[in-house]
């Protein structure tokens, strides 16, 4: 467990420095369904080939007391003190689209990493890993359907 954590922290540093030499910009586009509720809390994060947490890409929704409803992300990222650094925004309304960009090290692409999004809506059921899509060149630009709140997740590499 502790070895995993070390690599996790290392990768997070890579994620956090946007002007790194060998990095590529990735744009996530998550379109939500019309699920008929309040704005959704979303946490987009990366896991490695073994399913271990590798860093947070974006958290939509500002109230920390609701983060426990993004249960997988909340549990996996618990050891990451910087998980919210510069990557939070407002919750996303039903039917709306979230579009965020992040700089990822080249080494993360086509290396078994996976983008996951946990979603939660007040008074409705939590949806950990609502959508999962492997971070590979082949998947770029292909919409991936989500389980409950997310209609599709698409990522573009630049």
């Amino acid at each position: 467990m502790s070895k995993l954590l070390l690599t996790t922290l290392a990768t997070t540093c890579v994620l956090a420095i946007p002007t790194l030499a060998h990095s590529r910009q990735v744009t996530l586009t998550a379109q939500l369904k019309n699920y008929g509720g309040d704005g959704a809390y979303l946490a987009a994060y990366l896991t490695d080939a073994k399913g271990a947490y590798a860093g947070t890409l974006w958290v939509a929704g500002g109230k920390a007391k609701y983060y426990k409803h993004l249960s997988n992300w909340n549990r996996l990222s618990a050891g990451d003190a910087k998980r919210l650094n510069g990557v939070t925004g407002a919750s996303v309304g039903a039917g709306r689209t979230l579009k965020v960009t992040a700089d990822l090290a080249d080494a993360l692409i086509d290396a078994g990493y996976e983008i996951r999004i946990d979603a939660a809506v007040e008074d409705m059921r939590d949806s950990p890993s609502d959508v999962r899509v492997p971070l590979s060149t082949g998947n770029a630009g292909k919409p991936q359907a989500g389980k409950q709140y997310i209609r599709t997740l698409t990522f573009q590499l630049q």
């Binding site: 467990m1 249960s71 059921r125």
Partner: protein, 735 residues
């Protein structure tokens, strides 16, 4: 700022927003009630393991079981790609129907908690909740002050309709409203991030695969020992993730269970903050406690009632409040004028004195007598006190005397000026009581007590001259009495009675001019009135109105009075000289203690001479045929049996149940009305024992004799007139 000012201004301003919260809150209370009827509650002693086993049998894709606040069981599952949420029957796991978090549109809840303004709105709503809390506390202080302490809290509320609604509703819902505000603040504190509810980060635990198959849910020891009563929710492990665990949330905390060994991997107890929050949630929303939700709905719906009646009270008070212009702050004033006034006319004299003293360079403060006190800056105090009824204090100053006896005297002279009417035996009795108390307490006086008869401007001016000498400064008190706005009434018809000697009498019926809705809304024109209220009539050449009891109500469509010629009387001469089509200037003065409340109790009406007029008005509007019994006295049925033929007619119609008439100037006439009461002692006792309400109208001497007779008649019942008066069952209108 006093409690009253806090209550008034918070209520008028933030109250409007509180209305939004009250109405939406009342609507939201619908949810817990509806949910209570939607699905059966699970038996509390059912084990969670058994429940989960039943659910897995009927819903293979189950992911989560929730024990809802209503007691029902909801299951979240996936049916292929389709997310489902269903009510299940805890007895056999059968699906009962789709579950929805709320039957109401989302915006209702969002309007309630954030005014649809996001986080800023949440802060705003928390502010409103705080304001409501302060409103409740100030309301309690004012309520205790008004009712006269905790023990009198349940006593009858007096005052205008708006005041009665405001106060009577207030004392019922105050505690719940206060609780609602407190719980709202508790919930806001966590939502706004001021209080953390979580027990810290979740433990990072995994199920350890040891080659064996996962345990069926029914065999998990922890769930076998857990009853549904304590369950909040149970999350199934993800089928695709071999390391995932069972997660169970109970009212005590959370636990994670290994899916292979069934062992509890970690536990986390709920924090104290979370427990407080859970309680606040139940108390605020009524979820899981539908009878409480119904209570909350009523309390929420009462908020608009409070706000509207509050606005009305404020508006009425503003219209009626004496406006002292040029008032100095109390702390800086060297002259203080305290006023006790029933109808408001004494305030006019106070203003005249106020202006004259201010003109001389004094800093003058004028306020109501109940605020009586002196400050370091005070050099002179004047008390202008009117007397009400049988020597009582005006209502607003009813406890002023008591308050004064508790204040220790100092060297500031306090001068009392009384106002009254010499035709009453208790002329200036309240002013005299004040004077006596002040001297007994040791306060010096600049001038001895002086009593102004019938608002005499001349007498007031003379007192001003004495005051000027005592103060050693020029002072002219020129008082022009203020008159309430009058309406021109037109005489429609008159019914003449010969009366006796030079005292002819007539029943005069007037019409009032048509009033537009706009005028009504702004309180212009003639005020609404009921039989028993008074009409003030200002005769030409006089500034002082005379009052007559009304023999009709607004609903009758005419204004009727019975006027007897007073020898040399300015007003009665004028009125009796009127011909149909002539006009008079008049205004309405409510006579709240005397007007008849809506009642099912029998009513005993006792009147003599023209005093039968308001009683006739009561009978005329007795559409509900409440048993009314009239004792009516005159001198000679040929000359002064006012309303005689109408009363006969009302008897036939059933508006009047019985009538006893007595005439003092004819043989076998029966004497006076009190003689008739004495003869009917048995019957009168019966009526009073049944809870009868008594109204007496006539001359002062007649009312005194009637009271004396009734005291004797009621003695066997251990009842007295003063007891009946205290219960508002006995009232007099005397002239």
């Amino acid at each position: 700022m006093g409690w009253k000012a806090i209550h008034r201004w918070l209520g008028l301003t933030i109250g409007a927003l509180a209305v939004v919260l009250g109405i939406t809150g009342a609507i939201l209370a619908f949810d817990p009630v509806q949910q209570a009827w939607q699905a059966p509650a699970a038996p509390g002693d059912l084990s969670v393991a058994t429940l989960a086993e039943r659910v897995t049998r009927t819903i293979p894709g189950a992911e989560e079981i929730r024990h809802l606040p209503s007691g029902a069981i909801a299951v979240f599952s996936f049916d292929g790609d389709q997310a489902r949420a269903s009510y299940v029957d805890p007895a056999d796991g059968r699906v009962l129907g789709a579950w929805q978090p709320s039957a109401l549109p989302r915006w209702v809840k969002n309007l309630h908690r954030s005014l649809l303004l996001g986080d800023a709105g949440r802060w705003g709503v928390a502010g409103i909740a705080l304001a409501v809390g302060i409103l409740c506390i100030s309301a309690l202080v004012l309520l205790l002050r008004r009712m006269g302490g905790w023990r009198r809290l349940v006593a009858r509320v007096r005052g205008s309709l708006a005041q009665r609604i405001h106060v009577a509703t207030g004392r019922v819902v105050l505690a719940v409203l206060c609780l609602t505000s407190l719980t709202a603040l508790t919930m806001s504190a966590s939502t706004l991030g001021l209080v953390a509810l979580d027990a810290g980060t979740e433990p990072d635990v995994v199920s350890v695969a040891s080659g064996q198959a996962a345990l069926p849910v029914g065999q998990l020891p922890m769930l076998q020992n857990l009853s549904v009563r304590d369950l909040r929710k149970l999350n199934f492990p993800d089928a695709a993730d071999p390391e995932d665990t069972w997660k169970v949330a109970t009212i005590q905390g959370e636990a994670w269970i290994d899916r292979y060994s069934g062992q509890t991997l970690a536990r986390q107890d709920v924090t104290l903050a979370q427990r407080v929050y859970d309680w606040a949630l139940v108390l605020h929303t009524g979820e899981g406690a539908w009878p409480w939700a119904v209570v909350l709905a009523f309390v929420g719906a009462s908020v608009p009632l409070f706000w509207l009646s509050g606005i009305f009270i404020w508006w009425q008070a503003r219209r009626q409040a004496p406006h002292i212009t040029g008032n100095s702050p109390l702390a800086q004033a060297d002259v203080l004028i305290f006023v006790a006034s029933e109808g408001g006319s004494t305030w006019g004299f106070a203003q005249t004195l106020h202006d004259a003293l201010s003109h001389n360079g004094h800093r003058v403060y004028t306020g109501p007598l109940e605020l009586f006190l002196t400050t370091a800056a005070t050099r002179q105090v004047f008390v202008l006190a009117a007397t009400y009824g049988e020597g009582q204090a005006p209502a607003h100053a009813s406890r002023a005397l008591e308050r004064m006896t508790k204040l220790s005297a100092n060297a500031v002279p306090v001068t009392v000026l009384g106002f009254g009417d010499r035709q009453f035996p208790a002329f200036c009795a309240f002013a005299e009581a004040l004077e006596k108390t002040l001297r007994a307490q040791g306060w010096p006086a600049l001038l001895p007590l002086e009593c102004i008869h019938r608002q005499s401007s001349q007498q007031f001016a003379r007192w001003g001259q004495t005051l000027a000498q005592a103060l050693g400064e020029p002072l002219v008190l020129e008082h022009v009495p203020r008159m309430p706005p009058t309406t021109a009434l037109t005489l429609v018809s008159r019914q003449d009675y010969p009366g006796f000697a030079d005292q002819p009498t007539a029943i005069l019926r007037f019409a009032w001019p048509a009033q537009s809705a706009w005028e009504r809304l702004h309180g212009h024109g003639l005020a609404h009135f009921a039989a028993g209220d008074l009409v003030g009539i200002v005769p030409p050449g006089s500034a002082v109105p005379r009052y007559y009891s009304l023999a009709s109500g607004w609903e009758d469509g005419f204004l009727e009075i019975c006027v007897r010629q007073v020898p040399g009387g300015l007003c009665s001469t004028h009125l009796l000289g009127l011909q149909p089509g002539d006009h008079i200037a008049a205004f309405i003065r409510p006579n709240r203690g005397f007007a008849l409340p809506r009642t099912r109790q029998p009513v005993l009406l006792i009147g003599a001479g023209t005093g039968v007029a308001p009683l006739a008005g009561f009978i005329r509007r007795n559409d509900r045929h409440t048993p009314m019994h009239l004792y009516c006295g005159g001198r000679n049925p040929e000359r002064d049996f006012y309303f005689g033929s109408e009363i006969q007619h009302w008897l036939v119609e059933g508006r009047l149940t019985s009538m006893q008439t007595v005439f003092s100037r004819i043989p076998e006439g029966g004497g006076y009305v009190q003689d008739a009461l004495r003869r009917d002692a048995e019957r009168v006792r019966d009526l009073v024992a049944q809870g009868a309400i008594v109204r007496v109208c006539g001359s002062r001497a007649m009312a005194r004799d009637v009271a004396k007779t009734l005291d004797a008649v009621l003695a066997p019942l251990q009842l007295s007139i003063s007891q009946l008066k205290a219960k508002e069952r006995y009232a007099e209108d005397v002239f």
